[in-house]
Amino acid sequence: MQSGDGDTLRSCFDSLKNAVMGCCYSICHKENDAQENPVNERTHLLEVPEQQQEAPAPAVSATTPPKKPDEQSALNRILHETATNVIDVGALGPYALEPAVYSERVRAYTARLANAPPVPVSPLPRLLQDVSTSERQAVLAKPGILNEDRDLITNAVKRAAAAMSELHVEHHEELVVPFRVP
């Protein structure tokens, strides 16, 4: 910021100097006009009108202060975006908190967790669940499966196995088909 202010001050000073020199020159020039000596050591090599020569300096000094913050903010924005997007491999090393900060934070967390309301922990869903001893005994004490049901299941399974064994694939076309490659 200080260098920016210094630049602004310097440009203002330059423009003031130009204006003063321009006045002096115009006074001298008027004197010279009387002598009708158009070419001398004070003559400009490039013929630029004085108004045009002087005009840009104040214009620049007038427009520079509003432009600078814009440029500065744009540059800052670009810098920030670049810093955000850069993958900083060097920063990936381990870092540790100060022991005092660490212990203070542990203390704060412990205190806050102690004051927090208890969490309702729902039982996890299970595919198989344990049953109580009485239920287990009741289930085991029940009469077994009836003989008729057992025969029914056995016959059904036998018939299903027989049906599966009779399954055949009948092919009507050649299994290997030559491609029509010349």
């Binding site: 955000t84 920063a91 381990p94 908190l97 542990v106 704060a108 967390y109 102690a114």
Partner: protein
């Protein structure tokens, strides 16, 4: 709250064969809840080790594939799975032959408790 949660995490720990530790910390590795067995390597429980994930997940999110959610690190004897639940970080440490998919599936079972824990971290100085 902490005791209930610790019991719950211990219960999860028993369910997965070869899982040694479940750790919920902030991004600097300061622990909030911890459930660990004797087999958990002490070096992996220190804030130095865990805080590396906070940096790594930030940088990995810049690779153009969206936000990084989980980093799985396989070592010769251990595997470390760290989940980005910022401001919280969940760290699972298991043996190298532990079922990684089983560990990842625990995320859904821990997720409901993270909201309360996140407020604890957010409110702390």
């Amino acid at each position: 709250m902490v005791d209930d949660l610790r019991k719950y995490l211990n219960h999860l720990l028993e369910k997965v064969n070869g899982l040694h530790c479940i750790l919920i910390t902030d991004r600097d590795g300061v622990p909030l809840v911890r459930a660990a067995t004797d087999k958990a390597p002490q070096a992996a429980l220190t804030p130095n080790f865990i805080s590396t994930f906070g940096m790594a997940t930030d940088q990995a999110s810049k690779l153009g594939l969206g936000r990084n959610k989980t980093i799985i690190s396989m070592y010769s004897s251990y595997q470390v799975i760290q989940m980005n639940k910022l401001p919280l970080v969940i760290t699972f440490i298991g043996s190298d032959n532990c079922n990684t998919g089983h560990i990842l599936s625990l995320e859904n079972q821990i997720e409901p408790f993270l909201k309360d824990l996140a407020t604890v971290v957010a409110e702390a100085p």
